[in-house]
Amino acid sequence: MADTKTLGESLRLHGVSRRGFLKFCTATASMMALPPTMVPAIAAALEKAKRPSVIWLSFQECTGCTESLTRSHAPTVENLIFDHISLDYHHTLQVAAGDAAEAAREEAMHENEGEYLLVVDGSIPEGNAGYSTIAGISNLQMLEESAKGAAAIIAVGTCAAFGGLHKAEPNPTGAVAVSDIIKDKPIINVSGCPPIPVVITGVLAHFLTFGTIPELDEYGRPMVFYGQSIHDRCYRRPFYDKGLFAETFDDEGAKKGWCLYKLGCKGPMTYNACATAKWNQGASWPVESGHGCLGCSEPDFWDAGGFYNALSIPTSDVSKLVTVGVAAGVALGAATAGLNHKTKSNAAKNHGTVTVDDLEKTS
């Protein structure tokens, strides 16, 4: 449960020195993708930061987001943050199960009314409530109940942020995003399938540090992480500009690390921090490993055409369309031609010849 110690006090109790605290703030700034000039402000804010209660709800999801979070790659910083937040309910990670787990959620909600942070991963089925329930409570009901007393909601993953896989055609469960249901609370969308670990912790750190919602883009995503497209930050961008492209996954261009646009990279339409934050402890990221971006942090990315089709290609089968068009055009053209011929022959038939007598008559 939330206690009254500030983060500064808690760190000193852990024997962290002032240089250690400065280092912690530097790493936190780096994790929050804030400029190093923000370090003093972060230090001042963290010194006074209070321990918030966090309730984590998992709805229609694959647990990939939680897997991602638990593999955050800067353990010290995140451990300190997680030591500092009070994760009161997370049915995958918590020890308690069944009634005890639900009791923990209700207790946290009552004790921290209006102050706790609600984290949601997974989409919510609006069709039959039976598609997804927890302890007999439908996802919709649990979300509405838990959102009431929350200070803010963080929708983790593309499913919670935009509906994700379940919302893809034909959306059998009637899946919707958190923002489609909750309208009266600040919602931070941390999209991605899964989101980058440090982006999840960075957003938590921002809330913990400043107690506020970071600046959001039009999709409700934090600008610091989603402000620029993959394409704009891609180290392969110079090849795109030079017109150097990999044509297949094993050609000379692919080996030289040329641009993957033609192989279906959705980098130009995708806003995320993969190019800088990277994955697996900063080891690499999809484009660096030779595969185009799937666009997983964008709404409806499952329906945005084939993963291996260039972004400029329409989602339908163009060749077939053109063939059908030509066939229809030929048929219609033949009909028009027939009509035209008829008009022409009629005109020829009705063409009266003018004799000298006729001319004399009229004049």
């Binding site: 962290v16 020195s17 002032r18 240089r19 250690g20 400065l22 280092k23 912690f24 530097t26 790493a27 700034a29 780096s30 994790m31 993708a33 400029p35 190093p36 000039t37 790659h73 800067a74 353990p75 010290t76 910083v77 930050r233 891609c234 180290y235 392969r236 110079p238 690390g257 190019a275 800088t276 934050a277 402890q281 900063g282 690499s284 660096e288």
Partner: protein, 141 residues
């Protein structure tokens, strides 16, 4: 394993001599930071984790910067390694956690990196600590 052993693996040596389009702009930024430091005394910190490096770019940059005559280690919340590059006033600061993984990598363009400087509160603590020690030893004699 025998099947896997048949796959020929060619390890290509990293070419670190040439700078790429991802590293060159950074050098310009460092140069501008040095000019600022010379003219107004304003120091600059560049967070290298915010730079979209490609494979080998970090090695290329670091080998270009080289090592200078000063190096230091801070032990607080894990090890922090600091050294001046062969370009004076351009420092490299690498913060590691106790598990030895990197939590931040920065270039500081300044006279002395901030983390090395003793903070005022620590100076006051220091005065108090020495005072205590002296009092104790006075009492003993």
């Amino acid at each position: 394993m025998t099947v896997l052993d048949n796959i020929k693996i060619v390890v290509e040596p990293a070419v670190i001599s040439e700078l790429t389009e991802n590293t060159l702009p950074l050098l310009h930024e460092i140069r501008h930071a040095l000019i600022r430091l010379a003219e107004s005394g304003e120091s600059t910190i560049l967070d290298l984790q915010a730079i979209p490096f490609g494979p080998g770019d970090e090695d290329r940059l670091l080998s270009f910067l080289g090592t200078g005559e000063v190096s230091a280690t801070v032990n607080a919340l894990g090890e922090t390694k600091i050294f001046e590059t062969q370009y004076p006033a351009v420092w490299l600061v690498e913060h590691k956690n106790p598990e030895l993984s990197r939590v931040a990598l920065q270039i500081e363009v300044t006279q002395v990196p901030t983390i090395l400087m003793t903070q005022n509160a620590d100076i006051l603590d220091s005065i108090a600590l020495i005072g205590e020690t002296l009092e104790q030893s006075n009492a003993e004699f």
